[in-house]
């Protein structure tokens, strides 16, 4: 309930203060925000691979598609992980959820001949329910989410393997592609958009062609669309809405937030459901891409999501971070993972790089936090 007189005098103050605020451009704001480290990292990896991967095709159309797809894939789960981390919790079951949600699509479709659209709805409903349960347990018991979702990690992975063996006697369940032929969900998760644009680009020799004359990039894969939609929506919710304020407050200090009337429990449960939803999107894209579900899908993805979020400036202790940062973290990930392939560096070095990057990011974030809390 803002009071009118305050608003009136405020107008004068705004004028007086504004001339001091003008110096802070959008770029400066970005550089002082949580994304700073990730932003520097992105510049660094692009410069590095721009030089070392020059002429390898990494920056040709199909090369670009290659690393953007990998980045988009991770971006989907990294954004969920980032929001949850800002809200003060972790979800270690993301990777297992990817495997499990994939099975929830493939098993009904292949074994019970359920229409694939229904299977997808079933998988999403199931994932959301498990996310809800994770959140409920964490909120009600006050146990660390680390341990609760570690249990989910094992339960879901075990279920994925056990159920696929039980129903099909194998760990890879194929045949989804046939069932998804011509369906809308098939397009929704593995189609491409903007195909005419890329044909036009190929016609004008802007991008290369394959041996059969098709353009080297057929269109923008739906997974990239999903990643962008999830990222943009999440960014808007976090930065602009009251729900965003609640997420920051819940992660910053759950007690203070509760005292101020923030529905901390509901916020956290919703965030657990969001990470589960993101994992299900990831799973659906993979299942329709490969036409199969496999019980080892998404292995260790929970850590990659957390690493991307941390590289993006999220604090492990919650209350600080951004969606943009998490997206940049995912981009660094994708570029380095593919860049290492393109430049022919042995793949093992990828993990060394990742670990080092994570360590640097955490040290850097710690510094930022001290600056935020102390510096004038």
């Amino acid at each position: 309930m803002p009071r009118a007189p305050a608003a009136e005098t405020a107008a004068i103050v705004v004028v007086a203060r504004d001339e001091r605020l003008q110096h802070q451009s959008a770029l400066r704001r970005l550089l002082s925000g949580p994304e700073l480290g990730a932003f520097a990292g992105v510049v660094l990896v692009f410069v590095y691979f721009g030089i070392t991967a020059h002429g390898t095709g990494m920056f040709a159309a199909d090369g670009v598609l290659n690393w953007t797809t990998v980045s988009a894939q991770l971006m989907i789960i990294a954004v969920g992980a980032a929001l949850l981390m800002i809200g003060g919790e972790f979800d270690l079951s993301v990777g297992s959820m990817i495997g499990f949600a994939g099975m929830m699509i493939a098993l009904p479709t292949v074994v019970f001949h359920v229409p694939v659209t229904l299977s997808v709805l079933f998988a999403f409903a199931g994932a959301l329910a498990i996310g809800f349960l994770n959140g409920l347990i964490v909120v009600r018991t006050g146990l660390p989410s680390f341990i609760v979702t570690l249990a989910s990690l094992y339960i879901l992975r075990g279920l994925t393997i056990a159920l696929s063996i039980m129903f099909t006697n194998r760990t890879i369940v194929g045949g989804v592609k046939v069932a998804a032929e011509g369906t809308f969900v098939g397009f929704l998760f593995s189609g491409t958009i903007g195909d005419p644009l890329f044909t036009w680009l190929a016609d004008h020799n802007w991008i290369g062609r394959l041996a059969d004359g098709a353009p080297s990039v057929r269109g923008v894969p739906m997974i990239i669309v999903w990643a962008l939609v999830i990222a943009v929506l999440s960014h808007v919710v976090l930065a602009k809405t009251r729900a965003g304020n609640w997420i920051y407050a819940s992660g910053g200090d759950a007690n203070a937030a509760r005292n101020a009337g923030v529905p901390v429990g509901a916020v956290k449960i919703s965030l657990f459901m969001l990470t589960a939803f993101c994992a299900a999107v990831f799973a659906a894209c993979e299942v329709f891409e490969f036409g199969s579900a496999a019980s080892d899908r998404g292995l260790l993805k929970e850590f990659e999501a957390i690493i991307a979020a941390v590289i993006g400036g999220c604090l492990l202790t919650g209350g600080y971070g951004s969606v943009v940062g998490a997206c940049l973290g995912a981009l660094i990930f994708g570029v380095v993972e593919m860049g290492i392939l393109f430049t022919g560096v042995p793949n093992d070095w990828f993990r060394v790089f990742l670990g080092s990057m994570l360590l640097i990011a955490v040290l850097f974030n710690n510094l930022i936090r001290m600056q935020v809390v102390r510096g004038r």
Partner: protein, 276 residues
Amino acid sequence: MTVAEANTVSVDSPPRAGAPLVEVRDLVKYFGPVVALAGVSMDVRAGEVHCLLGDNGAGKSTLIKVLAGVHSPTSGDMLVEGKVVVFSSPREALDMGIATLHQDLSMIPLLSITRNFFMGREPVKGGLGPFAFMDMTLANRIAREEMRQIGIDVRDPQQAVGTLSGGERQCVAIARAVHFGAKVLILDEPTSALGVAQTSMVLKFIRQVRSKGLGVIFITHNVRHAYAVGDRFTILNRGKTLGTFGKAEIKLDALQTMMAGDKELQELSGELGGTV
């Protein structure tokens, strides 16, 4: 919550600055066998600062927790604006205009001043429930204006609360409670962790709040801080009041002596040149 009409008990002392906003009568609270409050009566009126003094274990915390709706009393009445109330949660006390500020529990250092200020009560411009867009321009403007009234020069209300000093944080928390319509402020040791300059800043702001017609209950064990802003003083000792005194009725020394209670401590205080 049950709000019953108060039985027509006449107020014993003549009103000093309006009718009591909050009053407690013969408040008793047991925690198992422990008597935390053994019949405490006090009240706070609009436009006054009522200081609650007492050493550790005197029952200050229990009393404010009852006032804030955290504990319910074993016996005794609590009246808000003349009506008997029973709080079953802090939220209900808050809804009746009683805001309690604990020393460190109300501000989140990592969040911006604006986000802290409007935490849980975000101004929105249209939209659906939780996903309604926050009116950041309005929020920033109000936050900046409120800061200016306190006397804090914030260049940017989007800077983290952690960049403010302890005194400034206390002031922001108070300003927030006032802005959102608190009638009674319960300040739990707001100056105990602060330096001299910071303390005087908070005390100055408490005076400012009083002049707006709010009732303030100021809990402290520093008599000097209390005497600087207090209109009335209630001294608690072992769960009982040693009395309530107006500022004209009691001198700083007498207050100090009464609060110290123990004779040895008075002597020690004398040896230390009255600095305790």
